[in-house]
């Protein structure tokens, strides 16, 4: 007991830093126009923020609830197309984004209701099938232009900062949702489902309902991200927004950052968003290899991603300075690593 009192300042300071850092980051990102950055940098930041949103969204289902989806491109693409059609029809962008989220949510129920009722791998595999089926369908759909894509015409002058701030707001919303989920009873339920479905059911919660809700929440955020992206891009096509690669990217980011944590997916998204284009440009024929081996290496050596690695390094550093039992014990408990 006395020992815990002596180190009480440590966790307190850490908590303060954990609260202050994101706030500082948010302020920094909000103040971006003051730095006089070029449009290319802003575009990169915009894309990164969209990726962060999808990464955080995927993590709610994949990381916190433990249900792997290989088909988030479906929600991203449906959101993009919904927003595109509505904006071209004259709907205010904000409404269009909300509608994008709504359509994605409905789609998530279509996939989730048959597959979540059962345990086992049904959901994960079904998501591969759904993304394939939706892409093929969109390639042949006449009113969206099929495979040749869809152009979004907006009757307002283009202002890059509007797009930037909508992406920033959405990313902030996603992170806020993720924090709320993790801190709420609902989030505890999701983690219970991830750790042991039977035990969770014995405690009186309905795993089916929890998984479905997590899926819907993640889909809604991803759909809105697709909408925000579509409005900026001005042109979308099934080979882009519905591509298998989009699904792979969305799943890769939270894995890189740290599954099931709040800040891991954010870090993963930030890294992936800023590095990805240079990577593809530098190794145009090797990005699948890169993504694949990255997945393998992370799963084999550091399943908690960067957050896990940092935690391990911190523990190691603390351990070499003094035998910091409380910190080590806290990290070693089979907890969910919610506090990043």
């Amino acid at each position: 007991m006395s020992r815990s009192a002596s180190v009480a300042g440590g966790p307190g300071a850490a908590r303060l830093a954990a609260a202050a850092l994101p706030l500082a980051l948010a302020l920094l990102l909000a103040a971006v126009p003051l730095f006089g950055l070029g449009p290319n940098v802003i575009r990169l930041l915009f894309v990164t923020l969209v990726w962060v949103t999808t990464s955080v969204a995927w993590n709610i289902l994949g990381g916190i609830t433990g249900q792997v989806s290989f088909g988030f491109a479906v929600f991203y693409g449906l959101g993009a197309y919904t927003a595109a059609l509505l904006i071209r029809g004259g709907t205010p962008p904000l409404l269009a984004f909300l509608a994008a989220g709504a359509v994605a949510t409905v789609a998530s129920l279509v996939v989730g209701i048959p597959t979540f009722r059962l345990r086992g791998p049904y959901f994960a595999i079904a998501t591969i099938g759904v993304s394939e089926a939706v892409r093929v369908t969109m390639n042949n759909l006449a009113f969206t232009g099929g495979a040749s894509g869809y152009r979004i015409v907006e009757r307002v002058p283009f202002n890059q900062m509007t797009h930037y701030y909508s992406a920033l707001a959405l990313a902030a919303l996603a992170i806020a949702v993720s924090i709320l989920v993790v801190r709420s009873k609902f989030g505890l339920g999701l983690m219970a489902v991830r750790e042991d479905e039977d035990a969770a059911a014995d405690l009186g919660l309905n795993p089916f309902k929890y998984k479905l809700l997590a899926h819907a929440l993640a889909a809604a955020l991803t759909g809105m991200a697709g909408g925000v992206f579509a409005r900026y891009a001005g042109f979308i096509h099934p080979g882009g927004v519905f591509a298998f690669n989009t699904s792979v990217s969305i799943l890769l980011m939270p894995v890189i950052g740290g599954l099931g944590t709040v800040w891991g997916p954010v870090i993963g998204g930030l890294i992936y968003g800023t590095v990805q284009e240079q990577l593809v440009a530098a190794f145009p024929n090797l990005h699948l290899l890169l993504y694949g081996s990255l997945l393998i290496v992370i799963i084999l050596f550091e399943p908690k991603g960067i957050v896990g690695l940092v935690g391990r390094l911190a523990r190691w550093a603390a351990g070499s300075r003094r035998q910091a039992v409380p910190v080590a014990a806290r990290g070693a408990s089979t907890g969910t690593g919610v506090e990043s």
Partner: protein, 297 residues
């Protein structure tokens, strides 16, 4: 539709079912023993296709023979993959998140290997047999499809013998039914899992080689077949070896006959629709209809 056309389609569906069963078997056996969904299945099928292609192009080996040669080669490859990668991921009584992500990563790597080595142009294997047909009454059968069917069925018969007559087969079936009990009676789970993974990959490679004789292929070859395999093993009840055959037949029949109504481009959607129907109506798979007795809870 005339009776002759109907008969033709029926035979075509039956021939297709043979290959489908071969390709799905690898997934079932791995799932049964290790409770791992082998997402890299598609990648190994693709490699199997190129294996047969290279043998034929460089050495003039008949692709059917090539598909048989693929079995030992891919078996070794599978065992190696097991010891290098799969062994290290935690397993449970249902697929774990790490195992799904690991094999997904492996699939991406294999796909990229395919693109780096062979590029993204479609290839196909054309032999003198490719276009020849046999006519029996009103039914005309592609010779190649008949041969492929025969090889597929033969491999399944051999497999059935291995599963029922050997110690390894008995361990596989025991672990599929109850892993813990299997361990208690002294089955070496590690060794059985390694051999099983090899076996599953061997079947994936062979099925890929067989399919390569019928379809053109590129490094993305296996993806549509991955979902098909999964639909088949769900229809079959996930762990039932005889269920796989039934599942393959059902999918082949549905696919063959829906071609009359639905454009071929939407075939993937059909597999998925079938999956949803199976999950809603028959969650235990077709096998549950035959094995109603026992195994409560």
């Amino acid at each position: 539709m005339t009776a002759g056309e109907f008969l033709n389609l029926l035979v075509a569906a039956l021939l297709l079912a043979g290959i489908y069963a071969t390709m799905s078997f690898g997934m079932t056996v791995i799932y049964g023993v290790m409770k791992i969904i082998n997402l890299a299945h598609a990648g190994f099928m693709m490699l199997g296709a190129y294996f047969a292609y290279e043998l034929y192009q460089r050495l003039g080996v008949d692709p059917i023979l090539g598909s048989v040669l693929a079995i030992p080669v891919f078996f070794v490859l599978g065992v190696a993959c097991y010891f290098l990668l799969v062994r290290w991921v935690p397993t449970s009584d249902q697929p774990t998140l790490p195992s799904l992500l690991l094999l997904f990563g492996l699939w991406l790597v294999l796909q990229n290997v395919g693109y780096s080595v062979w590029g993204n142009t479609d290839r196909s294997i054309l032999t003198p047999f490719t276009l020849s047909t046999i006519r029996i009454g009103p039914v005309s059968i592609s010779t190649l499809r008949a041969v492929v069917f025969a090889v597929a069925v033969l491999s399944l018969v051999v497999l059935q013998l291995v599963l029922t007559r050997t110690w390894f087969g008995r361990s596989v079936r025991a672990l599929t039914q109850n892993k813990l009990a299997g361990q208690i009676v002294g089955i070496d789970t590690q060794r059985t899992a390694a051999l099983t993974f090899g076996l599953g990959i061997a079947f994936a490679g062979m099925a890929g080689a067989l399919l390569a004789t019928l379809y053109s292929f590129n490094p993305d070859f296996g993806r549509p077949f991955l979902l098909r395999s999964f639909v088949i093993i769900v229809l079959g009840g996930l762990e039932s070896f005889s269920g796989v055959a039934v599942g393959a037949l059902i999918l082949a029949l549905v696919e063959t006959f829906t071609i009359l109504v639905v454009p071929a481009g939407y075939q993937v959607a059909i597999s998925f629709a079938l999956l949803v129907v199976a999950l809603l109506v028959l969650p235990g798979g077709v096998a549950s209809l035959f094995e109603r007795r026992g195994r409560a809870a």
